[in-house]
Symmetry: C2
Subunit: 331 residues, 2 copies
Amino acid sequence: MYNITTIAGDGIGKEVINAGIAILDHLDLNINYIEAEAGLETFEKTGTTIPEETVKSAKKSDATLFGAITSVAGEKSPILRLRKSLDLYCNLRPVKSFNGTKSIKPNIDFLIIRENTEGLYCQVESLYENEAIAQRQITRKASERISKFGFEIAKKYNKKSVSCIHKANVLKLTDGLFKESFYKIAKNYPDINANDYYVDAMAMFLVTKPKEFDVIVTTNLFGDILSDEAAGLVGGLGLLPSGNIGDKNGLFEPVHGSAPDIAGKNISNPVATILSIAMMLDFLKEEYVANKIQIAVENVLKHGKIQTPDLGGTNKTNEMTTEIIKELDNL
Amino acid sequence: MYNITTIAGDGIGKEVINAGIAILDHLDLNINYIEAEAGLETFEKTGTTIPEETVKSAKKSDATLFGAITSVAGEKSPILRLRKSLDLYCNLRPVKSFNGTKSIKPNIDFLIIRENTEGLYCQVESLYENEAIAQRQITRKASERISKFGFEIAKKYNKKSVSCIHKANVLKLTDGLFKESFYKIAKNYPDINANDYYVDAMAMFLVTKPKEFDVIVTTNLFGDILSDEAAGLVGGLGLLPSGNIGDKNGLFEPVHGSAPDIAGKNISNPVATILSIAMMLDFLKEEYVANKIQIAVENVLKHGKIQTPDLGGTNKTNEMTTEIIKELDNL
Ligand SMILES: CC(C)[C@H](C(=O)O)[C@@H](O)C(=O)O
Ligand SMILES: CC(C)[C@H](C(=O)O)[C@@H](O)C(=O)O
């Protein structure tokens, strides 16, 4: 039995998590759900965006499924809190162009591996009268372990190259350390091509030659920016899953936000969440089921019979979910 | 008479600056060129990447034309040195899709206004045994003046909106200050629509809806990343000019680098430099000639008779330059 904490959040978070649970319920898995709260509505009710019990539940569970949250100005971000408290040091963002969707180029298929605990996200900032300073922290430990994660995943999926993305020509010490750590780890993987690019060049290459990349390892904020850019390339945030992974815990969430403007209308695309569930099952070593979900989603997208508005169609969230369930039954 | 410092640099820097000077020489302008050195070759000869005289000459001149430079690991970057010493606080990067070139979408036309003196480029970094820290400095003064620059340019070119790009949900104090400064300045321009986006969202929107933006104002590194991404969208770095502008000085350079792999082969695209010269002339209030160059380049690209390899053709740098000169004569 798996204990799974679900944090639906608010906005479209609730509907996409419901869609995800419908998929899970349809599969032959023994899951015990623990519902936990976070986000804007939680804040309005309790005065905190993320109660201590939510963090505790996520820590104790086999994995956590996270929907989306509307941020509350001045309050701490629940997702950042969870990433930090659970030491979910790797943010894994697969970028894939699916047949049947409007990707800028076909056959895009790479993984962004974003360091998830430090960099500019260490949130050490000071405000003076007319100036503010933020710290960007890069440690050898975090840089080495994220690099190792990158090479391990390249090995697992038979990928040819791992690229380190940095700005070491300006951030000579911090990104110098990051790059040095990367190449140190690379030595343990002589069969994998290790290379590196400046983040600005990479932002261009993602547009001009995305097919040249396999696995991209980068620091926190660069990973944040590049993965949203990549989402734009392959047809929008509605399709992109992500995993926040540590040595003890895993938290899976769609890359998209809470989209309050379309919340409650049953028109959000559940695919990003459903693919996040596939990642979660992979993390739980349920690789067979994970792969089945992945294929079912790919088929449904390819057929294009059922499409939510972000994909150019007029179908509802639940119609998309039902179609994926049907496809699962056909496999 | 204008005193113009030229810093050709190395790699393709020399050939594109030669192309630019050929254009300038063809126009009826009274220019006194002062050649100055910087870059890899200078470093090999003199032990410094940028001699003091180069900085002095740029400071004294009416404007500076900069080619491209191969960076020397561990040595200071000449361009960063110049931006800082001359207080060239605005990096102006027009992004335009030209007819006849392979832009991802047609009719892209916006301006990126990048703060050019601080942020993560303040280069205050410390290295400890297993960790390095960089500072990201944001001042009210720099944030207000770059915002003002953005709104003034929107006014000058009749643009409808100015967008502030930041990551204030994570960098609450530094980007909080940046955003606050932006909206404070915005109040002086009630006819212009002021809005703001997170940098990750913007990285996606540049791909999915680039036509919605007019003027983008952002901090140093975000501007660096977004402008290279934008270059990818409109057909590569070979077409993108830039201006580094302060209250006293202006330095103009192509966005591309020194591209040592194609240097000396007479195949680099001179258009980015020639458009940078148009920006320089605009800065010198030679708006009529500036506009003429802009139109000549647009026509040559549209006709597509002469194309350098980056544009898909087989023409040489000097053929492109000659074609633009011919077109100038026709106007
Ligand atoms: C909501 C925000 C704090 C978060 C981030 O910047 O990491 C989001 O953009 C993401 O990519 O998961
Ligand atoms: C060469 C480098 C220091 C520079 C920068 O990062 O500003 C370049 O990328 C640019 O955009 O002008």
